[in-house]
Symmetry: C2
Subunit: 708 residues, 2 copies
């Protein structure tokens, strides 16, 4: 299925001369204006993403401001600078009706490049959304650069075909330049210049498409090409070694559908959907939350609260203030010249929202899904309407919410079963070769399940090997096809989860499973029985950040965020616990290795920090060529107090990926995740009384679908 890209006007722009620009810009604006008119602005929320109008106003204010006179000025990040947390909380939970809620100021954070510098600007947006003013400006003096723009990548990949050494390299390999595609790869940092003396360079890798769409499977191996993104010129080149380009046959993933037919099926909701989306606020069952969109984080879930049936009628209880994927670290494991630097930070270098694409109805999301758009700013600062970036759907997977069969009564069998229905909020990010399906699954039990599903294409290395028996040295990967080594790598998906369990101030508790010998003495937990051992719980409350780290594969423990000021009727602190579900790998790279310094937090799955509005991006605000000086680990070295504070949980799913042939040419989804589960949050099972939806118990014959 070919879908015209939302990107395509910009890509075409890169190839056209400048005087065509205004015409195209107008066309794009009208497209996006039409798109924005379709979305609902009837109930604006302080956490709503910047609207296209607001983005337009921000752009104008930045360009009109005397603070950054250098031109060109390129926009690398434009996002909501959300109101300060106390103001948002007052807005959301202050208790006054919506009509009396004070309008919170709208602000944008802009990261721009101009004059060879990175600029941070905070811009206020007028309440009518059509004008804005720059509030503050700072030049970034530390290490690292902003997110790469799509436009500069498109411009850069157009350079090689006119670069004579590359033309020669291609010719020498017997490849037709018309079949060649290139992509931009961040260089990372390897101990050289950092900060303002570093050049904003990237590397480019090229591939052969030809008859296949899967050009990633056909790399032109052995070439290192460096492009200066500010100068938009190739400034380094080395063709070190030649390897065969893997053949096209067997690499394509398009069409070609045969194989045993599967019975068609679809989840049908005869009474329509059970959730409501009001602007960006989603209400479903006992959940309410705000769905935002950010060009770097993608989906942002805020102000998630549950309705507690047992408490006073209408009592909503807070669970999550703000949650999003903060970073995705993907280091490859081949130290050779053309591979050693492939140590991606997909959020900070590429932008998860920027690389989210339209979801395909009936395929990415089922037929009963609703969709949300995700607008963002292009390099020129103008709004781009991102259609169908997030979907929301109720899942009828046939699972059970709870059940019990009681056979203990002599005269009757008692069976109670409640089928489960959950709500999924999904985004798919395809930052190059990989596809990440990122799900938030809300359960009526109060749990939130996070699932990351990996699919898409492996990054492979051209080689002369055509059979594994030929390999006598460490190939740093698996031979998945002729001349094709799929290089070993890791994936670390780091979530920023500002949980506010029943209130803002929480503590981080480890309920440590502690083996005990039966002393025989009740005073020390023992008893005079033949039982020799048991385990009990040693409860540790983290005082400072050093206590707030955890390796989930080490000594067993339940990890909780609790509200020390709120207890159940039984006197237990209300909380939520974190339950990993696969994907618990931690990085094994050396602590002094450069990529590991930039994502050092990947040595532990769990970190807890005190809330700080600026601490969002685990590898730092300026992640491209970052050094780790601004990172989750660096912040935490201050060992700040995290007891009875506003704290943030950072959880990293990790996977060591040894590729196998099934992953080629495209990988069947592999999933891992975790659950945040109420733990003494409720007085009892919150879905004991939940209405059982009249799921048809009869055969499908009572439901039918129109002929296609």
């Amino acid at each position: 299925m070919l879908v015209r890209s939302q990107h395509s006007p910009f890509k075409q722009m890169a190839q056209m001369s400048h005087h065509m620009l205004p015409v195209l810009v107008a066309a794009v604006l009208s497209i996006t204006a039409a798109a924005s008119a379709a979305s609902s602005h009837s109930h604006p929320h302080p956490l709503d993403p910047l609207t296209p109008d607001e983005i337009t106003a921000v752009r104008a204010a930045v360009l009109a401001s005397p603070r950054v006179p250098a031109r060109p000025l390129t926009f690398h990040y434009v996002g909501l600078d959300e109101p300060d947390k106390p103001d948002v909380l007052a807005y959301a939970y202050g208790g006054s009706g919506s009509s009396s809620r004070p309008l919170l100021p709208r602000r944008a954070l802009v990261i721009a490049r101009a004059g060879g510098q990175s600029h941070e600007l905070r811009v206020s947006v007028a309440s009518n959304g059509t004008s804005a003013a720059v509030l503050s400006h700072a030049v970034h003096s530390g290490a690292g650069f902003p997110v790469l723009t799509l436009e500069e990548q498109f411009a850069a990949v157009a350079l090689p075909q006119a670069y004579p050494p590359f033309v020669e390299s291609v010719r020498r390999r017997g490849v037709d330049m018309d079949d060649v595609l290139c992509a931009v790869f961040p260089v990372g940092w390897f101990g050289g210049r950092a900060g303002t003396t570093a050049k904003r360079v990237a590397k480019m890798l090229c591939f052969v498409a030809g008859p296949t769409a899967n050009f990633y499977a056909r790399p032109i191996e052995g070439i290192t090409m460096v492009v200066d993104l500010d100068a938009m010129a190739i400034v380094g080149y080395r063709d070190r070694v030649t390897y065969p380009v893997p053949k096209a046959e067997g690499t394509d993933y398009r069409a070609g559908k045969t194989g045993p037919p599967l019975a068609p099926g679809v989840a049908v909701q005869p009474e329509g959907r059970g959730f409501h989306i009001d602007g960006h606020v989603v209400r479903w069952a006992n959940w309410e939350f705000h769905v935002g969109f950010d060009m770097r984080a993608g989906t942002v879930i805020s102000l998630a609260s549950v309705h507690d049936h047992d408490a006073d009628a209408g009592t909503r209880r807070r669970v999550l203030y703000r949650g999003f994927v903060s970073e995705i670290f993907v280091p490859y494991m081949d130290p050779v010249e053309e591979w050693y630097y492939r140590t991606f930070l997909d959020a900070g270098e590429y932008g998860l929202g920027l690389w989210a694409f339209p979801l395909q109805p009936g395929a990415d999301c089922p037929a009963n899904a609703a969709y949300l758009d995700g607008s963002y700013a292009g390099q020129d600062g103008k709004p781009v309407g991102g259609e169908n970036r997030i979907c929301v759907f109720e899942r009828y997977a046939g699972d059970v919410a709870w059940r019990h069969t009681e056979a203990g009564f002599p005269d009757r069998l008692i069976t109670e079963v409640r089928p489960d229905v959950t709500l999924v909020v999904r985004m798919v990010v395809s930052p190059g070769n990989y596809d990440y399906i990122l799900d938030w699954e809300f359960k009526t039990s109060g749990s939130i399940k996070f699932v990351v599903s990996l699919t898409g294409l492996l990054e492979v290395k051209g080689t002369s090997y055509t059979h594994a028996d030929e390999i006598t040295v460490d190939a740093h990967g698996s031979l998945v096809s002729e001349n094709t080594i799929a290089v070993y790598h890791d994936h670390y998906v780091t979530y920023h989860l500002d949980l506010d369990i029943d209130g803002t101030n929480n503590s981080f508790v480890k309920n440590i499973i502690t083996a005990k010998r039966n002393t025989g003495d009740p005073a020390t937990g023992g008893a005079g029985t033949p039982r020799r051992s048991y385990w009990t719980v040693r409860r540790e409350v983290a005082e400072t950040e050093a206590d707030g780290q955890a390796d989930v594969n080490a000594a067993p423990a339940d990890l909780l965020l609790v509200n020390p000021g709120k207890k159940t009727r039984m006197g237990n602190e209300v909380g939520y616990r974190l339950i990993p579900s696969g994907a618990t790998a931690a990085s094994v790279l050396a602590d002094d290795d450069y990529p590991q310094r930039r994502a050092s937090y990947t040595k532990k799955q769990v970190w807890v920090t005190p809330y700080s509005k600026s601490e969002k991006w685990a590898s730092g605000l300026f992640a491209d060529q970052s050094t780790g000086a601004d990172s989750l680990t660096a912040w935490s070295r201050r060992n700040r107090g995290i007891r009875d504070q506003d704290i943030v949980l950072w959880y990293t799913l990790g996977l060591h990926h040894i590729p196998y042939q099934e992953d080629f040419p495209v990988m069947p989804t592999l999933s891992g995740g975790f659950e945040l589960r109420p733990s003494n949050f409720f007085e009892r099972n919150p879905i004991l009384k939940i209405g059982r939806p009249p799921i048809r118990s009869s055969a499908s014959g009572n439901c039918s679908c129109d002929a296609r």
Copy 2:
């Protein structure tokens, strides 16, 4: 929903006088005969469970045999003694058509009690299924006793109400005997007599129902009552201490449905199901497998093979010879007199198939499910028809099988998405208070996902505490309600998985993630680049059983079963790997503790043994009061060779359960599992070409269901 129990005739029997027995037996036989007539015998398979007719014939042969003259003779296990593996393989994969397949002999294994001894009898069943003959007989001389029968448990729990010390205990606590229910709990083994000098005793615990069905929430604490099951008499009694009986209010889980309504929904298959069940053989998509049923294991999946599209047309490739849950170990963590022995082996003491109950359509399984019955033998050896013990359904969860969005082409966006449809085979076992939802999920990618979902009721201890602040010593559990401590415990679900990856002889391989320093020298895997570290794979092939153990939380590794005689075109050994998905706890009990000796294999999640037909039950054939002498760990001490052999994988899911208030009065499901995933089994992604089912992309409005 009240469902008349299949057990009820037997329970009623326990309370009636003996001369009524023949009348009831006839009634039951006619019921079960009618039930059996409904099931399909048109295509008998050698692994089919014993039919009611066969069970009847086996019973007659045992009772008529002179080998066990003592009476009464009680049947504790009657199950298929499956044909020897080479014969089954010849039958299934021998290549000749079904019409020319030789009929394999049908045999039963019977474990009976008579004359104070445990008897193992092998019985051959004639091919017409109506006559049988005892082939062999042995008296068990080792430790342990067979599975407890339902009937003896029903009989035992009728004793306390007429036992004067208990009557007094009940009176003293102000409880009405009419509200009292008891249940039988195995005693385990704690170093006392074992083997033939041990008495076949159990303990009984009593509870108060009254206005609630949840009697487990209202224990009569402080009493130890010992019943001799052979003598069917109470032989030990101690009322050590009195605690309040927790109140009934808030404990019931029946009805009472309020709360926010959920939108009804159902998976609809407009063209009907995509799977076919032929007797006990299931065919779906590229999978084919046999579903059996055993009174101790429950669901047994055998002869699972996948069709390989890339190979010659019609090529089925073997994956699993036989798989089932071998044991469920549930030790509680309170050493006090009334709790120290609660260290259940749910398969070996209770029988998973015996405690599986009818699945509720539209709740336990969705509307599009098909059901399989599970017949078993009662204590008298007569067949009982177990209706709807297993369901099979296609799951349309809205997940993605694989996808890729390609934004690298300058002129177009390419998106390919394949929605996923899976096949679930489900059984629910409720052996007392807990409910285990045991799922096998087959995927078209060739993966099998195993999911265990815990729900049902906690086992709780009466206490005088009404608030956590009162607790100053180790309570060995969580205060979940007034006077109610939910005791800490573990669950270990052990799977026996006789994988035969593309053939019988396999090896167990650990692909160990090994961190390396970049030496700078290509000869040792390094390169002259600034990258300081990476990881590579050190491949270890297990030679003997000691190498075949693995702690999945220790050093990271991919764990595979491979066929050393089969390689892909690329020269990689075909295999499947094991991917844990949560629930990776290992036991922390002391090695010398009695319950730990009986389930010592729970210290490692992974074991590999050479195939041996008798090695089925991880805690031994006679698990009640077992000592561990016959167990997975004991067999493995022989350190047999497991390289290029017919080997069996044993995988144990483990969970340390600290109860929380939400688990009370009934627990929202908590799931964990693992995946068996093809790894170089296929030449490439096996679902690249799979047909995309015409899932409706339109809104639900095109599908509708009849009014109720």
